[in-house]
Symmetry: D2
């Protein structure tokens, strides 16, 4: 069974604007040395997908730099491999932009048409989870489904309203699908991962897009819910959409300090990322490090607790970093105190400064010297 | 001396529209197995350039497919390498488009800023020539030039009006520069290849673009001709801009049948292209092949004379191909006659058909079955 | 189903000594741009094998140069890929040599032990054929076989004595196996390709080698014929062992000029080789080329008939090449005549010379200037 | 200036036998994630060497696994790149073995002959230092030297006797060279790194080897000391030969905990190694880590002080690791105590065990469960 993977990574909408001012949300750093998209792309590769298209448009460079030729994911191949696809200029007076998820796929019809894949797996670049989709393939086939959607039961009412909600029959067939409804219709949300027969997808796109369709859910799945066999696969593992809010981004990072989540995310199936030639972290004689993730190239002289320290960070003597996320190559100078904060890449926190989030997590933007 | 290479390959203007309806002009096939851009990119690599940015926007996919990760040109490196750069979406209401050559470079300022190169060599993706730029580097340094431009003396009056013309002092310093003037100012034309100090280029861009500058020649070089030391390097070799007209495209292809031009273009410095796994051409017992270039994967049963036969073409028994260019995977069926024609990729010329250019070269578009 | 591929390419025995004085027989050039091993390695890759060990010892450099990192066969991977394995020095007074096929595999036990493959497919580097082994896998499983061997029925009595001969029951189970018997026992020969459960292979090796076993057929398969279920798969396609004799080597090359064999060998499943940046062949105005294979980078001015012309060969005006194989970069000067001959790489045949095989094919060794 | 790099990595002699029972000394792990050879190969690449031959014979597989296609060092190139070269079988009755350093190079004459390099830089796979050889190139040229040798002044009398000692004139020209003399002749030792004109090297080898020469120093350099201009370049940086003794190996590893040495070895010019997809180290709530190097993929629950913890190691609750080196994937179980010890790869130290070096460093061999 050959499957084409598509990763939607083009949206400029973001609940974590302070971190996505000059980068695609799929390129946001997580867990000390990863980028959000590493999870979906590794999941795809681990599920034997050999051709992956990443559909990007908003600040795509950070993604391109990170993904390169795809060799870190074994996607630099003679046939297949990795395709990073922006919307492009075809005719005068036609703005090169993806108008929605369905339109984005439609604009890359050549990728769909050319290959010999039978199925398409569509995911998002912003989701953190570890899943071997082989299970979804089996589910799809055994239900003779047209479309299978990854779904999950959640409780948080505030979050529920931000997702599509589905109601299913006993066997999992979706009978109702509400896109971000104001009042709660169901606690089962769509995780935005779709598995679909390729020929069917092409047909649906050709029917919808020329008539103004733009969005995969609103314009294609919901209107066809009766005609097509759309099934909900119940995903039971850890899952997070880091783009939802700074709080979600922060909590997801902190979750990795929990043993069970770390084991689920890293030891179940391998997660690949762009590796860099940093020396191992050096923890010096006066340092104290507790319950933390410490990436390559860091030098720790101060006190670190309940924190994620990314590659190349330096924490100088007498500095205190607690309940915080420090992104790549940032310097925390002598005697400064960082608490409940996210310090983006290439910052320098000067001697004696205090960066303390009180009610909310405090975010210091990339490149700040303070 | 470290040099950053930039290849301008984004324009949608084309004198060979029949061949560029769905491909960038830099991706137009030439000489049986090459694409136009192979020459500039190989020239760059042969001149020790290790980082190359290809600025593309109009139908970039054919270029991306061809260039891939750059490994055919040894440009898939840990640092440096190949960057294929489309304009991208930054903010709502800002259309992602390159407004001109200077603007295209300005939009990729990060590429300029990040590297440790001292110089930038700017070329075009449409030009066919073989040149080791080391000579230009030496020329530039020995003149203490600010900008050095590749120029060439040509005679053809019709062509002259299509190029920028320069007037130089004895030592090569350009004193006057006319962009495509209506009346001939000089027989020395600019070949659109610029060598410039990187810091100076950055400064010129920051001065010009925010004030509405768009074009490298009109908005940056011409206005600064007095202030800067701009020199003309006299290129004496074979040079052709295949995008100018179907006639130029045709003649350039035919030129490769001449021994001296073939030797200059292929044996001076190596020209690399994306290689494909075709078997060697098979020339059958009843075939007749004279004065022709026959690429891999072809099977010849008919008569071929003064022609360029590209990869995977089949010329069946009794077919006649004369003074023509047959592009990849096209089938010339039994008894058909092709003369003074260009048959694009994936065509099928049916049995007994005649495709004969009379006054002009006849062009059959990609995918035609006739 | 995961399969480890092993290619035996270490023997110094050769029936084509003139061509294997300084190269492994698996590295002997065939068909204008290939090496013998390309067929087995491509067959393996086309059969979804992702890890291939090439066991080499006699003049391995030509093989190493050709195979490189395996990227031409998509075998340059993060996990798995290509391993070129010579015998190596472990202890003083132990000569690093493979004592036979079984010993060669035993010495590379680490490769077997480390991977997660369930089966091992063992082939030879000298055989020319095109086969998708998926069929063999199915045959093996449906017979619940312990070992499945590729076999073929041949008629040629002279050849028969050079191969192992097998006698099978109706269902294909091998009951008798004679290794190169003096008198003909069966017309079904073993093609030296073995498919076997990995754990079983490891067990058989550990039982045999420490007790002096060396050879896979004599010391492992034949003694276990009763105990194990050994099956013969009947291969019906084109197959040739180019190392048998100069005659075989010559005839195999000439076979590619036949349409059906060319189609079977090249168009069924793709054959990959190391590609080189040569320009397409140029056939000049006075050349005559009939029924020949003409590889990249050649320039033909003379007369070529029923011949294989390899990459970079030059055939000058007035030269005649008939019923011959010309290997890479050789020059056939003006007025010389080559008939029924094999001219190895880098030779120069001077003006007016005649190289004509009378009863036998004449072979000119690599680098000869004559 | 083009330079061919050769790395001698074939000797089976070793002062650290416990660590080289099944691996080449150049493949011995250092500093948590490196192998000894990473330093010389990175130094070569950082000095613009684009073709590197690694001459290996004793247990070469660990080196081959580590170096792969050379892509981590940007040595997977179309031309040039990395060559891992064992001695090979040419004729019956000729044992494939390198008889000495000079013979090893002689047996790889093809590598020397084929390239267009002017110079050869010969180094060893066992030395830890960080040096940009450009300085040596300049020294060589400005002295119009025939051979330039990296040398260093050392004091340790015990060590002195293990190295070649040189006496120079004021300008650095070597007038006397004593190979491991019993009594001290000079405190300036040869570091076994030679820079030499390629044509001269070829000539010297052709003169010496056929007459029984084997060793570069004894048979080529010393006998020619008067005839040739041999110069000593005085290397002032950190340098260690980890193969000398377990003590040296241990001390070199511990040296990386010193700030100045770490900066010299890692921040001067980049050191590359084979990167692996481990998650960042997790230091848990009850762990205590002081003055240590902690590589990727480790999980620390116990107490670690003055130690090097390699990739994938687990140190369980209550365990104590002090003044020790723990190699890859080893498990230190609850309550065990490791002091003044080296625990090789894949060991398991069971609960409550004590491994304590008293007068000497205690070494636990690879794979031990204790």
């Amino acid at each position: 069974m050959k499957v084409l993977g598509l990763i939607l990574a083009g949206s400029s909408k973001s609940g974590i604007e302070q971190l996505t001012m000059k980068r695609a949300s799929a390129a946001v750093p997580v867990f000390g040395k990863y980028r959000a998209i590493d999870f979906t792309i590794s999941n795809f590769v681990n599920s034997k997908i050999k051709k992956v298209g990443v559909l990007t448009q908003y600040y795509p460079r950070s993604l391109m730099d990170h993904l390169g030729s795809g060799k870190e994911w074994d996607l630099d191949r003679k046939t297949g491999g990795l395709f990073i696809l922006q919307p492009f200029f075809r005719k005068k007076d036609e703005i090169p932009v993806y108008k929605g998820t369905a339109d984005a796929i439609f604009q890359n019809m050549t990728l769909l048409r050319r290959g010999d894949e039978d199925f398409v797996l569509i995911g998002s670049g912003d989701h953190i989870y570890n899943f071997d989709f082989s299970e979804l393939y089996r589910f799809h086939l055994s239900n003779a489904a047209d479309i299978s959607i990854l779904t999950k039961e959640i409780d948080n009412e505030k979050e529920l309203s931000q997702y599509g909600q589905v109601i299913t029959e006993n066997d999992g067939r979706i009978t109702e699908f509400y896109e971000k409804p104001e009042e709660i219709k169901s606690k089962r949300i769509s995780l935005g991962v779709y598995f679909i027969n390729k020929a069917l997808l092409i047909e649906l796109l050709y029917t919808s897009i020329p008539n103004g369709g733009k969005d995969l859910v609103k314009d294609i799945i919901i209107p066809n819910l009766k005609k097509l066999r759309v099934y909900a696969y119940d995903f039971k593992g850890y899952w997070s959409n880091i783009k939802k809010s700074i709080e979600t981004y922060y909590n997801t990072n902190m979750d990795i300090l929990k043993k069970e989540i770390r084991q689920e995310l890293f030891y179940q199936n391998k997660i690949y990322t762009k590796l860099k030639d940093y020396a191992p972290p050096k923890i010096n004689i006066n340092a104290s490090v507790k319950n933390s993730f410490i990436a390559d190239g860091t030098i720790i002289n101060g006190m670190v607790k309940n924190s994620i320290i990314s590659r190349g960070v330096r924490i100088k003597a007498g500095a205190v970093v607690e309940n915080s996320i420090i992104l790549q190559d940032t310097i925390i100078s002598e005697g400064s105190v960082i608490r409940n904060a996210i310090i983006d890449k290439d910052c320098e926190i000067r001697e004696g400064r205090e960066i303390i989030g009180e009610n909310d997590i405090k975010v210091i933007e990339k490149g700040t010297i303070i």
